[in-house]
């Protein structure tokens, strides 16, 4: 069986998962730019490209995600699963690992 061809539009996250395109970091820029304290604590910025249907509540309903496609978000660098599509880096993580919308 050949490998499945993946593109951003064919990836449908399950449950509360969010699919994020990782933004290139540019830590030398001054003036209102994210300058993480140390590499170990470094939060990561990315753009939401796909959103899952939301977390299942106990009564069968779902909790609508707080983020939408196109949002710039801040998330912990060590959460979720890294994926590469072509030359770009992506991450699939749970919405609870997103710290803030920054756009």
């Amino acid at each position: 069986m050949a490998a499945v061809s993946l593109s951003v539009s064919t990836v449908k996250p399950l449950g509360d998962r969010i699919f994020i395109k990782v933004s290139a970091s540019d830590e030398k820029t001054a003036g209102g730019i994210l300058l993480p304290d140390t590499a170990q604590e470094k939060p990561q910025v990315g753009e939401v490209v796909q959103v899952g249907p939301g977390k299942h509540n106990d009564d069968g309903t779902r909790q609508t995600p707080e983020v939408s496609i196109g949002d710039k978000v801040l998330y912990s660098k060590y959460a979720g699963t890294d994926i590469k599509l072509g030359g770009d880096e992506f991450v699939l993580l749970s919405e609870k690992d997103i710290l803030a919308v920054v756009s």
Copy 2:
């Protein structure tokens, strides 16, 4: 007692478990193809071949699985239980360990 003869159609997953045929990996192909970052973080692609009845809710109802037979899915390589049937590789895992539908 002789070993039980197993085939895909005779495996009925319990609860929220999903039975997946592991797709061969082809990491050299370019153009929209999954290129995992490192072996350690490598997500795995497979095809759903059997679906359990779904997770039991506290009130006795079940939560319908989000995936169906035939779906291509992305899952963590280290989740679930590996099984071989004939020459093919399969994995039995909980639906929560499936990251996304990719077909």
Copy 3:
């Protein structure tokens, strides 16, 4: 006090526990036969010989077990408690540790 005489019919599992007779493994057979990948991940096949009344729900009702006496089941080799009766091997485990019905 003498030891209690045990036979399959006198063992009544409590709660969600299932009593399973372990099937002999025959890993050399080809054609639709279970061929576990490695000893460490090896799932085990057995036959259900006794079924507990089911897990207690919070409201005092019980969750009916998904398996019945006579079912061939796949379970994790490292779940539950091993028991020998005469020359046969058995295992007492929680229903949640049964992966699939395979008959």
Copy 4:
């Protein structure tokens, strides 16, 4: 203050605890007799001598225990608290640590 005189009839287990008299093991007997696989996994047989009022449900009601005084039970050798009264061995454990009724 002198030690409290204890006898089986004066021990009233709290909550879901069960008071069990440990049965002597006789591992050499054949024919339907419990022959644990290894010492490490060895389940233990005993007789229920006192039963607590049952586990508290969240709504203040209690969950009636599944075992009664006089039941022969199989339990994990490493659960609960060992107690000696006179020359006999007893164990006080939670009902959830009882695997099966075997009489």
Copy 5:
């Protein structure tokens, strides 16, 4: 600030906590006397001297404690907090760490 003067009557346990006076152990006495198996597993006998108002239920009501002042109780030697008042030893522990009433 000087140390607070404590006496049994001025100690009001919070929540599900129970205040217990530790009974002297007398492990040499025969005939219905507690003879713990080993020091490591040794249960402890004591007398309830103060009882908290009970555990808070999720709906704001309280779960009435199962023990009363004056009860002789069996508890795990390693639960709770040891306290000395004058020359006597006491322990403050959660009701769930009391195994049985023994008087």
Copy 6:
């Protein structure tokens, strides 16, 4: 930015937190005085100086704290966060870490 000036009256604990002034220990006094067994197990006495609004219940209501300003309390020496204001020692801890009211 200069450091915030803190005084007891300006510290408003959040949720179920309690603000306690640590009492000086005086372990040599006899007669009804707290004499902890060992340094490792030593409970600590203090006086409640501020009380949070109480723990949030799941339905949005709050659970009224069991302690009030002025109460002398016994708490575990290793719970909470130590704070110094001027020359005095304080501790901010969750109400569940308070063992008993002792005044």
Copy 7:
């Protein structure tokens, strides 16, 4: 892709997260000033600059945060994620990691 330009006003915390500007510490000042006991236990003072919409309750409603923009708060130095914007230090943490409002 260039790095996202971040400023305090464009950071919208998700869920129960709070965005805090870290106050400079000035541990030498006397008179009602925070003097942490040791570096290891040192609580940190900061000012709330952004507040998330609040924690999701199980029924889909939200729990209104207890803090507001402008509040001076005391929080554990080791909670949350450190962020630098220009020359200032900030921290993004869950409301439950805020110990008290101190202004």
